[in-house]
């Protein structure tokens, strides 16, 4: 049994660009904006970076192939730069590369940066693209809302929840995230909304209305990681360390009837979460996790993820939602920064943005949206693909002594 990553790597600094419709900036400028904050926070010089990982998901409207765009944007000192793509979980994937490099001892200090420039497509939502020549002949290239909306039908059928009840719970999720986003100056969407607005919005993919869907944004986020020893030697006191880092990829099991998957949950999230809790030494996540940033690409995704992360009991997540358990002042806040819903979703950056928020909250640096009860352990969940075939990443960071 592998020993895992717990407390072997610390976050030295983090940065995040303002997310949104950044008509004024190219991707390289967004990278610089996020990096400037992170390198200032880390208190190091760029020459101290040993390696870098870059996450970008959509090539067609982005920077093109290879790690070179990051190396050029930051004028890195000819270190190795690896570009990673793992659907919308790319950001956490880049983080994993940097963290593993440090944990292995191959690097002292490593950089993970995710960026995405989605507002150059000319339309809202994610770019329409091929899924490969074989898939394109036999698969359905649905929209992201269409792919995730299907969770709702299966969830209702399995748990006997009415359309109205589920729609109410989904709306509560969006109203909560908008309220949180209104306290976040870097968020793409900073306007609070009420239940009626959410419930009466135009339908995008039944039963997901406009406000059940997250925004797609331009943005960048980054992390600089090192060992706890080096961090301390550089003068850092309150250390945030990585407690667990797990990624699970579908192998086609959900795609076949023989597996028995019923369409109502994320198989990979359950696998990744169970491994992450074990790695972090967490036995009761509902009690031990202080904060969550999950992949709320759609309200229904957030809802079922509460169950897949073993926070809510299966079939009961919607009740926790309606009871306000995940509100900013609830038992276990989820998306206290507004989430993908309002902070925004520049794909490659999102996993790192979640960790950025958790890092700020753990250090008490989250400003107006700072959680009242000081958090000690924070989880991020970063998902790519669709419910039937996906990549699920769970990262847990916490105070070094937690």
């Amino acid at each position: 049994m592998a020993k895992g990553i717990r407390d072997k790597v610390a976050i030295l600094g983090m940065g995040c660009a303002k997310f949104g419709e950044r008509w004024d900036m190219d991707t390289d400028q967004l990278m610089v904006e996020a990096f400037n904050e992170a390198v200032g926070d880390a208190g190091i010089d760029v020459s101290q970076l040993d390696a870098a990982w870059l996450a970008v998901a959509f090539d067609a409207v982005n920077i093109g192939p290879s790690g070179i765009p990051l190396s050029m944007a930051l004028r890195l000192p000819n270190i190795g730069v690896t570009k990673v793509e793992n659907y919308c979980a790319s950001g956490t994937e880049a983080f994993r590369g940097a963290v593993y490099a440090v944990a292995s001892g191959a690097c002292d200090i490593a950089l993970a940066l995710g960026a995405e420039k989605l507002k150059d497509t000319g339309y809202g939502g994610l770019p329409v693209r091929s899924r490969g020549t074989t898939f394109d002949m036999i698969g359905v290239t649905g929209s992201a809302p269409g792919n995730f909306a299907q969770l709702a039908a299966a969830y209702r059928a399995k748990h006997g929840v009415s359309k109205d009840e589920l729609k109410q719970a989904m709306a509560h999720i969006s109203v909560k995230s908008h309220a949180n986003g209104s306290r976040n100056p870097k968020a793409h969407l900073q306007k609070a909304v009420d239940m009626d607005t959410v419930l009466n919005a135009p339908m995008i993919a039944e039963p997901l209305g406009l406000f059940d869907c997250c925004g797609v944004s331009d943005g960048a986020a980054c992390a600089i990681v090192t060992t706890p020893e080096i961090a301390r030697s550089l003068g850092k006191r309150d250390l945030v360390t990585i407690k667990a880092l797990q990624i699970s990829a579908s192998n086609g099991w959900e795609l076949q009837q023989a597996g028995g998957w019923d369409g109502s949950y994320f198989h990979t999230t359950r696998v990744a979460a169970a491994k992450a809790y074990q790695e972090a030494g967490i036995t009761n996540p509902r009690e031990q996790i202080s904060l969550m940033e999950v992949h709320d690409c759609f309200s229904i995704t957030e809802l079922v993820t509460m169950e897949d992360l073993f926070i809510s009991k299966e079939g009961q997540g919607y009740k926790d939602v309606l009871n306000g358990f995940f509100d900013a002042d609830g038992g276990l806040p989820c998306q206290i920064d507004g989430g993908l819903k309002c902070f925004g979703h520049p794909i490659g950056a999102s996993g790192l943005r979640m960790i950025y928020e958790n890092y700020l909250q753990l250090l008490g640096r989250a400003g107006a949206r700072q959680r009242s009860t000081p958090p000690t352990m924070a989880l991020s969940h970063n998902l790519g693909g669709s419910p039937i075939q996906n990549v699920s990443a769970v990262a847990i960071v916490g105070l070094a002594d937690a």
Partner: protein, 489 residues
């Protein structure tokens, strides 16, 4: 004496939507008030994802319900609207039907008579032949053709008893053909629309003299009189013409088959075969069926129904398709689907649909035939086939045998109605479906509306257009799921 040849089976396909002619007339009345006389009744309209090939596949499947397809040794597709000028269209139908590779295949075209001509050729063979006719004609908005025509396909399986395809339902008694370059209408290979001549001239010189003459000659040649005919199929969509031709041949008025003009429209090359299928559904043993085809001359065929005539209950046939019609008054959607109205499709419609020929050829069984795999070690069914199966089988590789899924009923596991993705018929419905006996597919749903979808709903598969590569004019086909309706097998 050699064994008789005849019709072994028959089937039909009529798209679900029926455009109300009144809706077309009202929309165009400011410009073409003269069309009022054609404004009654309804016509069958194919959806955007149907064409001659897909309709031919569905009619063939209806015809071949429960039959051993391996016994078929030839296929002919008759149509004046074949999607490909140089790619064997009947070969596409063959792949979708998973027919044996060792068979002859022909496209027959060039005239609305192509269906009956193909039937005569097939009936003059001894080996079992599938003859399928399909037409999806385009007519200019506010033209008579737009109102009169209809989209449909019909399939007739011909051969002899003892070929493993059942008994003969109607024995072929002979045929008569004439060929004359009578240009009542024409369409050059580069044209989208027909150009037609005056209807009075067509009636007098074409219908009356050419077809009427051929009918009389045929009766004489085949040694029967008009009074012997129980079902006269005269597929001319001009009011009164079939009746007057019948009268001139001594055929009883009550023997003249309904032209289906009010409920389907004139389905072109298909129409003689569609009316033949309808007649075979209703004929009694011993009935004589006279079938005519008209176009640059005429074909006349004579059949006699046997004890085996009638529609097997598991087939939809013409009656089954007529029963499931859905009225449609959306004229602009029809124009858009026919490519006659250039709606703004938005940037999401801009995705390049280029199809590599190599990968389509490698995967043709899966793509065209919906053939999945079944692990010989575990019995697990999956789609598509893969080297390493989805279920644990001691990591054995290459254990999957072909497993056709097209005729399996499936149930909805998940679904949505997606208004964001580009579709010519929004919202696009899709979801995961589980097949009876195993296998799962994320499939697009066709012919469905909000009340048709729910988890657990039964679906069946149909062959449809998946996408069209407009840049290279290549049509991509695949299978979609439609809600099972009452009366489906």
């Amino acid at each position: 004496m050699s064994s008789p040849t005849g019709i072994l089976a028959f089937g039909a396909y009529i798209p679900q939507r029926r455009l109300q002619r009144s809706a077309v007339y009202v929309a165009n009345a400011w410009f073409a008030p003269n069309l009022k006389g054609q404004s009654k009744g309804e016509r069958a309209i194919a959806c955007w994802d149907e064409d001659t090939v897909t309709m031919a596949v569905e009619a063939s499947r209806d015809c071949l319900t429960g039959l051993e397809r391996g016994a078929i040794s030839g296929i002919t597709l008759a149509s004046t609207t074949l999607p490909y000028a140089d790619r064997l269209n009947s070969g596409l139908v063959k792949e979708a039907l998973c027919l044996e590779t060792n068979l002859t295949a022909n496209d027959q075209t060039g005239s609305l008579r192509a269906g009956t001509s193909a039937l005569i050729q097939a009936l003059n063979c001894t080996a079992a032949q599938l003859v399928v006719a399909a037409d999806l004609r385009k007519a200019r908005p506010a033209s008579e053709g737009e109102l009169v025509q209809g989209d449909a396909a019909a399939a007739i399986l011909v051969g002899q008893a003892g070929q493993g395809l059942g008994e003969i339902a109607a024995t072929f008694l002979g045929s008569h053909s004439v060929t004359i370059d009578f240009v009542d209408h024409f369409r050059s290979t580069s044209a989208e629309f027909d150009y037609g001549w005056e209807s009075r001239w067509i009636r007098d010189e074409g219908h009356t003299k050419i077809l009427g003459g051929a009918l009389k000659e045929a009766l004489t040649k085949l040694g029967v009189t008009g009074a012997d005919i129980d079902h006269a199929i005269i597929p001319i969509a001009v009011r009164g013409v079939p009746e007057s031709l019948a009268k001139s041949c001594g055929i009883k008025p009550e023997s003249v088959r309904d032209s289906l003009s009010a409920v389907v429209g004139d389905s072109g090359t298909t129409h003689p075969l569609l009316m033949l299928a309808a007649a075979l559904e209703e004929a009694k043993p011993g009935d004589k069926i006279l079938l005519a085809g008209f176009g640059q001359g005429a074909d006349v065929l004579l059949f006699q129904a046997t004890e085996a005539v009638g529609r097997p209950p598991e087939q939809l046939g013409v009656a089954g398709h007529l029963a499931r019609a859905r009225k449609d008054t959306n004229y602009t959607r029809f124009l858009f689907h026919r490519g006659l109205l250039d709606l703004e499709k938005g940037m999401r419609a801009e995705m390049d649909e280029k199809q590599p020929g190599t990968s389509l050829y490698r995967n043709r069984k899966a793509v065209m035939g919906l053939v999945g795999g079944r692990c010989t070690k575990t019995g697990t069914v999956q789609f598509p086939k893969t080297e390493i199966g989805v279920n644990a089988n001691d990591r054995s590789q290459g254990t999957q045998e072909d497993y056709p899924l097209a005729d399996k009923i499936a149930k909805i596991v998940t679904y949505t109605a997606d208004s964001l993705s580009f579709s010519p018929d929004p919202p696009v419905y899709y979801g995961a479906i589980d097949f009876e006996g195993g296998g799962r597919l994320v499939a697009e749903f066709a012919d469905c509306s909000a009340e048709d979808v729910e988890v657990g709903r039964e679906m069946r598969m149909v062959f449809r257009i998946k996408a069209v590569d407009r840049a290279r004019d290549f049509t991509k086909y695949f299978w979609k799921a439609v809600p099972v309706q009452k009366g489906d097998a």
